[in-house]
């Protein structure tokens, strides 16, 4: 309860939460509001129309309603972000736990592999992986997930090491508690909050990177109403047809902003060093 009050006092974080919830709500209701026809079937003779009462955000280069496409695009954006983060967490957290908890050569190996992945610019690695397993949103998701896990691994590793070095883990092992139990019951909860923060910010980050991948033609495939793809496809028509780029751009901006503000707010909330008010 107290935490909630403290959170509500953090204006940007609340703003972020509102944005994220709105986008999530939009993703749920979008198919009810925007018909598949409006999203996919354009009228070629009505292409690149400026915003009007009929087409609130105007039409794109194939005469499709941008408003409908931006709304439905939220589904893809959230889905991608969620899948990427889940994949990254699924790889990064166990790897980080293992490397942080044990002190074998295996843990050393895990961290070296993490270093290798961290040493490549994420985008270039993602580009290469997307090349390897074929284009499309799925491979972009896998590619981003595969490049994002080292961040979780690092975070979890550091946190696990910290928790491990505190007395109680040794004490627990001393009294014969099983490793898996210690990990599940004692280490994981400590690791959870930085992971949640990282994941929230990662959601925003992923949406942005997916947009860049879409911009480079490696993410979503046409005719998906993907925001990044829409910008990539419409940038040839700037500046005259500004709406075709601007509205998907604003959608990305708002969503990423939402996740980042929320993540920041959560960090302030859970980070014990910042918890003390001063």
């Amino acid at each position: 309860m107290l935490i909630l009050i403290k959170f509500l006092r953090d204006v940007p974080a609340v703003l972020g939460a509102v944005i994220v919830l709105s986008v999530a709500a939009l993703a749920v209701v979008a198919p009810l509001v925007a018909s598949p026809e409006a999203v996919f079937d354009g009228n070629l003779l009505e292409r690149l129309q400026p915003p009007s009462s009929v087409h609130l955000f105007g039409t794109d280069n194939l005469g499709r309603d941008i408003c409908a496409r931006v709304m439905v695009g939220s589904r893809g954006a959230l889905l991608v972000a969620l899948s990427v983060v889940v994949l990254a967490v699924a790889i990064g957290v166990p790897a980080g736990l293992y490397a942080g908890y044990t002190t074998s050569w295996g843990s050393e190996l895990v961290m070296r592999i993490t270093d290798v992945f961290l040493a490549v610019p994420q985008l270039i690695l993602a580009l290469a992986i997307a090349q390897l397993i074929g284009k499309g949103l799925e491979s972009a998701m896998v590619a981003l997930g595969l490049t994002y896990w080292p961040f979780f691994c690092r975070t979890v590793y550091a946190e696990t090491r910290r928790v491990r070095s505190t007395l109680f883990v040794d004490a627990l092992e001393g009294i014969g508690a099983s490793r898996s139990r210690i990990l599940m019951v004692h280490v994981l909860p400590n690791v959870a909050s930085p992971v949640i923060v990282r994941a929230t910010i990662g959601m925003g980050f992923t949406i942005l990177t997916t947009a860049v991948l879409g911009f480079l033609g490696i993410g979503a495939t046409p005719p998906m109403p993907d925001w990044g793809l829409a910008i990539a496809e419409s940038r040839e028509y700037l500046p005259d047809s500004w709406w075709a780029v601007t509205f998907p751009g604003l959608a990305i901006l708002a969503t990423v902003l939402g996740f980042n503000l929320l993540g920041d707010g959560l960090r302030d909330l859970v980070d014990p060093r910042l918890r003390r008010s001063r």
Partner: protein, 335 residues
């Protein structure tokens, strides 16, 4: 710039202070009073959380952002410190008129700056220039002044020490550095916030001795905050006992130790062999500052509590030469 003799006396009078927290307003100090006589070492003793440290912060004007002074006054000589602007507090009081020795020598020095930088800082902050002739006997330079200070706190190899980083010193050495820092601008008053708590027992003794000697040599007036009556007995001339934000009793150390008047002081002294100041022997627990008991804050635990104890806080009563007690037992009528 010349060094005027700073006012010799510091008085905290009936200071009430609260801090707004997320959970509500916490009454940290309730009419706390301390009178520091010129040239005396004045112990302030009480359990952790009783508001002793906040009292020092209030004197220095470095209270947390969300604290409110609800009443009372702090006077340095004739001057009320509460009315001073933050700039004036920094310029004229902190480090200048009043030196400060912190509790934890391991945390108080910035780890990434050299010792000389940090010792130089209060001097620079108070407008001393290298040629101010702080210490003519040391060649008049700031550095010379610092070296003589380090010698004064018996730090070996003072010249070398200045060029080192804090982590290269032991805890006791660091505390000496901090004492030197507190004396840098030649203040007449020094506030020490449990300066020996973080140290091991032998070091504690050395530091106490050093403080005692310095205070005598330089005719300093010192407030020494501690939870340990033993330390008070060794070091101090006078003592003020605090409980939950209230000052319950004060007077010359000998008198208070020999014949404590306030029930709390008595119990505290009775528990002393435990040394930790934990009131293991007193039933009940230290009250929360968020919802302090009304009246005398000790009354819920007081074996001699009476009906009127909870009605209003007792006033202070003179019970001997320089001795005051705030308790209805001695006629401290509820106001």
């Amino acid at each position: 710039m010349t060094l005027d003799p700073p006012p010799a006396v510091l008085e905290v009078e009936e200071l009430s202070l609260a801090i707004d927290t997320d959970e509500g307003r916490a009454g940290i100090l309730d009419r706390a009073s301390v009178k520091l006589a010129a040239g005396s070492i004045h112990g302030v003793v009480g359990e952790s959380g009783c508001g002793k440290s906040t009292l020092l912060k209030a004197i220095l004007g470095v209270l947390p952002k969300r604290s409110r002074i609800l009443g009372g006054d702090i006077r340095l000589g004739q001057r009320s410190l509460l009315g001073l602007s933050p700039e004036a507090m920094q310029r004229e009081v902190r480090g200048r008129a009043i030196g400060f020795i912190p509790q934890d020598p391991f945390q108080a020095l910035n780890p990434v700056f050299r010792v000389d930088t940090q010792l130089m800082e209060p001097l620079a902050a108070h407008g001393f220039r290298p040629d101010d002739g702080l210490a003519p006997e040391d060649g008049g330079s700031m550095r010379g002044h610092l070296v003589s200070l380090l010698k004064a706190v018996q730090l070996p190899d003072a010249e070398q020490a200045l060029r080192r980083y804090p982590h290269q010193f032991s805890g006791g050495q660091r505390q000496r550095l901090l004492i030197a820092a507190a004396l840098a601008c030649a203040p007449r008053i020094v506030l020490a916030d449990e300066p020996t708590t973080a140290l091991d027992v032998t070091t504690q003794l050395q530091i106490l001795k050093l403080l005692h000697n310095l205070a005598r040599q330089r005719r300093l007036s010192m407030i020494f905050v501690t939870h340990d009556f033993g330390v008070v007995a060794q070091l101090c001339d006078e003592v003020t006992v605090m409980y939950a934000g209230q000052t319950v009793e004060s007077g010359p150390v000998r008198d208070v130790l020999d014949s404590p008047r306030h029930p709390y002081t008595r119990l505290l002294l009775a528990c002393h062999p435990a040394r930790q100041g934990e009131l293991a022997g007193i039933p009940g627990s230290v009250p929360s500052a968020l919802q302090p008991p009304s009246g005398c804050r000790f009354h819920p635990r007081c074996p001699q509590a009476r009906l009127q104890c909870g009605a209003a806080p007792p006033s202070r009563v003179q019970v001997g030469a320089g001795r005051e007690v705030a308790c209805v037992l001695y006629g401290g009528a509820a106001e």
